[in-house]
Amino acid sequence: MNEPRCRAWTIAALLIALPAALLIACAVGTVPLPAAGVLRALAGAAGLGAPDGGLGDVGQTILWNVRLPRVILAALVGGGLAVVGAALQSVFRNPMADSGLLGVGPGAALGAVLAVHLGWAARVFLALPLSAFVGAMVATLAVYGLSRLAGRTTLSGLLLTGLAVSALASAGTSILLVASDEFRVKAVLFWLAGGLEGRGWAHVESAAVLIVLGVLTLMALSRVLDVLALGETEAQALGLPVTVARLGILAAAAAIAGAATAAAGSVPFVGLIAAHALRPLVGPRGRHLLPATFLAGALLVVLADLGARTLDLRIELPLGSLTSVVGAPYFLLALRGARERE
């Protein structure tokens, strides 16, 4: 299949699959809701037909206060992290880059935990995602700077630096949580393994601000990403201020990763899988890759979260563990492919 047709089919498939997954995720759960009723209720809220949709009061409450905010948040977090993965892969010129692997996610978690520990999160609006953003940015800059100390950034050098920074940030997170008065196993699990349990509209609002702004910024800069992916010499020779461009993109990526982590904890591998899998299908250019990865990442996390709350009806599985169960084998396969090409 030629490239434009393959791209069109892929994006069309994602545009069908994502709303379908959103609908299923709203319908399925401990209390199942009829999909047709969910659809009618959503249409009703949009001013089409009866607002009730035949779900009844309990059904309405579950849909509007429990399921829908959670599903929308899953889509935002997944889409955002996927776009971050695609952007990081261009900046580091490395198809294996991912916010979790490069310390961005763990850095964001550390920032968020610090905000909780110091009590800012409860007092100031957006303090949690902003602290997570700062944590993500510090981790990103550390990996970026350290991996460049030796001159050229190699695949293994980058991944090892990311590993070290991630381990350091996760260690900091664990220590802070253990030192906190309100220490609970659940809190540690949330920040280290991710989850969307009990997330409501307030979380959606505070996450959406930074995620939507960040994603739109990266999409607007998609041509800059394309030029950066050509390498430092060529990007400079084409007149791009490389350092400023890289820092700007890393800042937008850290803002998204920060907001996503503040809302859902660590959700690793989403960026790696979505961007890595879609690049051969939609091409490497940002203007196609970023929107497509957003849809794919959203799909992935909506389904993962659906799995997290329905695979075992007695307990909720950690979301980040589920994405890791899928992501780690994918990463190993992709790494083998990359090594063979090298």
């Binding site: 010499t233 007149g239 250019r285």
Partner: protein
Amino acid sequence: MSIVLEADELRVYRGRVCVLADVSFALHAGEALALVGPNAAGKSTLVRALAGLLPVAHGAVRLQGRCLAGWARDALARTVALVTSEEEGPTLLTVRERVVLGRYPHRGPFRRMGADDDAAVAQALEETGIAALADRQIGRLSAGERQLAALARGLAQQPRVLLLDEPAAHLDIGHQLRLFRVLDAIRSRGVAVLAVIHDLQRAVDWAERIVLLVHGRIAADAAPDQVLADPACAEAFGVSVSAHPAADRTHPFYAFE
């Protein structure tokens, strides 16, 4: 011929090592200049300094009479194009997408492709003879075709000066001849071409002038046969050079021992 690009007592450091010292020479419009020299002579550094990519410790590079420091990045990239042999863009890009990125200095991050952009891309693909490969992915090209795609990206910038770092590296003889024919066609439009060339015979046959760089300094700057006859050339490469004139050739064949 008017001077387009000029190095004036150029000194460039990489880290603490002085890679170029007191390099002065001029490149004229439409000229074919070959930059030769042994490994680690500073050729790639000189080419990058001429493109404005490296900080200059002393002296200056002047483009159309104006110091490079006084040029805006995009205006500079519209006037000087640099093509290296070590380019490693995403292998999934198609040739056309790669060449379109050569319009970045003209379009910036936001402007859509205009008629002039389309025309420049089409001309670059046509001149390099790879229009038929336009929709193929870079990763599926041979090394020679990839080099031509990189050159096409440089041409799409519509520069007045084309700087090439080892354009003939990895190329078979057929692709080499094609590449240098392409360069001659570009020069006929008044574009100055400076190429780092390892094959001295190729440099003699193609260039109008050769600059010999040794240990970061210019050891010779003259017509090709004069440079090859200069004892500095034999000394620089640690070989003996002998010329063997042939009746039907402008330049003699050279033997190196």
